[in-house]
Amino acid sequence: MCEGLRVASGQVTVSDAMALARTEEDQLELTVRQHARLVYRIAYSVLRNHHDAEDATQETFVRVLRAQRKLATVDDPRRWLARIVWRVAIERKRKVAEIGLEEISEVPAQPGSETKSADQQLIEMEMTGLLHDLIERLPRRLREPLILSILEEMSISDIATTLETSEAAIRSRIFRARQILKEKLSRLLEGEI
């Protein structure tokens, strides 16, 4: 309000404008430093590919740059960023599906995997692939909350804000998704045994 009055009266100097721009740049840099990892992890949970996840992260912050003025007015930048990157990742995944490219999923390299034996690593990779297939077969309304709930940074409230649903609905969907996964995994493991 005060700045608006000063602009209207023509009292803003060049140094004031530069200081304001500098403050916005600093704020954006701070936001990147604080939340880039979360943004990346959300993108990766949807895309399951490191390159795509990084591209989605870049695109998210470019969108933030374009709406930089809004960043100062946002109450919770973390949730705001989560919503943006979620949309970016979903759009990107949809485009890949429309083009008809095969989805390339990567098995993340586990920290400290050098201590595990080759057999153990192979079993873990197979289990991760199996879980990925099962999650992908879930209905979208169950899959999306489950994917976000895996991220330890995301609370039920954050997930509800990101998916624009109530917390109760999110809890219910996550519970049902887990039930389905447990049943299918149990059946598969019994069959193997």
């Binding site: 880039a36 990766y44 990925h132 994917i147 447990k182």
Partner: protein, 187 residues
Amino acid sequence: MKSANNQFDDSKLDEMLKKYGDSEPRPGLEDRVLAHISIEREGSGAGGWNWRLALAVLAVGAVAAVGVFMTPKPGSPPVTPVKETASSKTGSDIPTPVVTYRKPHLTAKQVRRERSPQKAAQTEPRLEQFPSPTPLNEQEQLLIRFIRDRPKDAAMVARLQTELRDKEFPSTVEQLPGVEKPPDSQE
């Protein structure tokens, strides 16, 4: 037994999901993002200037084009049709469009051409006698006065001068071979 299995499954599922969701970006993600943002910021700034420059050039070009097309050509005066008046309808039933010609707007070059001396001479009224008569000198005035006062003497002097000239300078027609004299001269 079933609840124990479920409990096992829950913990197992949590462990599997944790491994499934465990993903860390490559080191230096924040720096790469900031570098990309700075490039984007510079690009958008330069792009904005380019757009402004292009718009300015386009505007100047449009104004120049309009100026060229709106300037009338020297040989073709603009025709301004005038609405037919009531008097034009009185003669016949067929309406006759009345067309008036308006003097075109002259350019500086055309104005200079009109003011040139050649053009000015053409526009002046034509003289009856060429070259224009000059005032008589003193000898001519004395001769005119002598003719007016003594016309007989003047006529005798004129005849004598003519005879004398004919004697000194005979006609070239008579001297040519094979050419006969006119009958009046023989008489």
